[in-house]
């Protein structure tokens, strides 16, 4: 009796699952930060899941009909993405927040790549990295950061419990 019951149960669950939407279960973003010694800038690329980004934009600005990565994408989407990221992603050095320049974003169905540039980066000073992207919508959000500064490679991640990371060269 048990066997029959299990078979029916498993089959039903499989069918239900296959027919469901494809929402990913983990909430992660990845940022790559590379120091450009010639311009003394930090070149930043942030990968965000497209559906997460739409949720966050709607939470912050109301539903403007984003349709990211589709032909119907909101023409002003870029501006909203920039305004969303600006207060949530920052680097501080020598008690000063680095100034920030939005380069643009690349919209794909699964992920959006956002490009930012920060000026007057001091490659010898410790840095304080703040990344609180999506913390207001997901409890389990993890924001990964990879730093590539001359010969040094570092990685760190922020969570709701640890919203900032200090990155130093002598540690």
């Amino acid at each position: 009796m048990w066997k029959g019951f299990i078979k029916i149960g498993v089959t039903a669950i499989l069918l239900m699952t296959v027919s469901m939407s494809n929402a990913h279960t983990f909430h992660v973003s990845v940022a790559q930060m590379k120091y450009n010694a010639q311009n003394r800038t930090l070149e930043i690329a942030i990968k965000l899941f497209t559906d997460d980004l739409e949720d966050a934009l709607t939470t912050s600005f109301g539903n403007q009909g984003w349709h990211l990565a589709t032909p119907r994408q909101l023409p002003a989407a870029d501006k909203y993405v920039r305004n969303y990221l600006k207060p949530r992603f920052a680097i501080k050095q020598n008690n000063r927040t680095l100034s920030w320049n939005w380069i643009g974003a690349e919209y794909n169905m699964d992920a959006v790549w956002c490009y930012i540039e920060m000026y007057d980066f001091d490659h010898e000073a410790d840095l304080e990295w703040k990344n609180i992207i999506f913390f207001e919508i997901f409890n389990d959000q993890k924001n990964i950061g990879h730093f590539d500064i001359l010969d040094h490679d570092f990685s760190a991640y922020t969570t709701r419990k640890k919203r900032k990371q200090i990155i130093g060269y002598n540690k």
Binding site: T17, A45, N139
Partner: protein
């Protein structure tokens, strides 16, 4: 932190993190029926699970297999339910160990797909997958061994104080696993 250190930490936290306790509960279910004297069986069981999940984690990390995430997240609580039912159904009797090893290996394959859902989210185009995968998997193993050791210590303490209640302990633990798994299954099915 080096990126190796970070992926290692993320691997450890992926098992120990209370936000998603499915893998932790599965390890509890695997180890629940055994004592220190059964260490050989436990080593084979944990290895079977490890080989299983390492295979699918690697296959998925290198994009050789790709399986619907929701399907995997639904199958994981089912592996917990079945493991708890096997342990409950045979309480006090001898299990057919070869069959159990095979089952846990098979379930390892499913959990590996679960690990890969998280691992793949961490990767970006410029990531070095191989070393990240190694560090992440190592983190998972370390966390797994820690949990097995903690469960064994609790089991032995229990045996010390209540030596005659073996059956009760197994029923208690697996009952807990069963109901947690049931809750996870409903969550996986209805929170999309």
């Amino acid at each position: 932190m080096s990126s190796f250190g970070m992926y290692f930490e993320l691997g450890v936290m992926h098992i120990l993190d209370l936000e998603g306790i499915d893998h932790l509960v599965f390890i509890l279910a695997i180890a629940a029926p055994y004592r220190f004297i059964d260490w050989k069986k436990l080593i084979i069981l944990v290895s079977a699970f490890t080989v299983g999940h390492s295979v699918t984690l690697a296959l998925s990390a290198f994009d050789i297999v790709r399986i619907n995430e929701d399907l995997v997240e639904t199958l994981i609580p089912i592996t917990l339910l079945i493991t708890a039912m096997v342990n409950l159904g045979k309480t006090g009797q001898k299990l057919n160990m070869k069959l159990v090893y095979l089952l846990i290996f098979f379930f390892g394959l499913i959990h590996g797909l679960g690990f890969s859902n998280f691992f793949n989210a961490l990767m970006s185009e410029s990531s070095e997958v191989t070393s990240a995968l190694f560090a992440f998997n190592l983190g998972i193993e370390v966390a797994q061994i820690m949990i097995v050791l903690i469960i064994l210590i609790i089991t032995e303490l229990f045996n010390f104080f209540k030596p005659k209640s073996q059956k009760m302990r197994i029923i208690f633990l697996n009952g807990g696993v069963f109901f947690l798994a049931l809750q996870m299954l409903f969550e996986a099915l209805f929170t999309i």
